[in-house]
Symmetry: C2
Subunit: 79 residues, 2 copies
């Protein structure tokens, strides 16, 4: 059974760079990696914020929310 990891972004340049890094780094044999663009999937925002999302890009896994550098606050995709 693979663990789940969810990468949240909003298409910003910092997001795309972080996405490339995450896709390269994460062990896919052990983690199912889902990429969520919050601008295209705004219905995912509330759940992400409930899990601790403050800004994008970020990677959620095993109850942790890891913010990667800083592209934009999550208030941006709401606007």
């Amino acid at each position: 059974m693979k663990e789940k990891a969810t990468f949240y972004h909003a298409g910003c340049p910092v997001c795309i760079d972080a996405q490339n890094a995450v896709e390269s780094l994460v062990d896919r044999a052990r983690f199912d990696l889902e990429i969520v663009h919050l601008g295209e999937s705004p219905d995912r925002l509330a759940g992400a914020e409930a899990d601790g999302l403050k800004s994008v890009p970020a990677l959620a896994t095993a109850g942790r929310m890891i913010h990667l550098n800083h592209g934009a606050d999550v208030s941006a995709p709401k606007a």
Copy 2:
């Protein structure tokens, strides 16, 4: 030939939590992961800053410096 990934931290709680996540997430079959405690290895700080380190914890790989959440600015280990 494995790629190199270097995790920089300073022993802070945010650092340790991020370290646990990184050690779990990173594909060790493809990346050699080095953990560097800048408080214990202050000689590594100048090189890390040259690579873009602004705060810890952070993960350097493939020319990128990915700051993970925010534990402390790198000025702290210098003090």
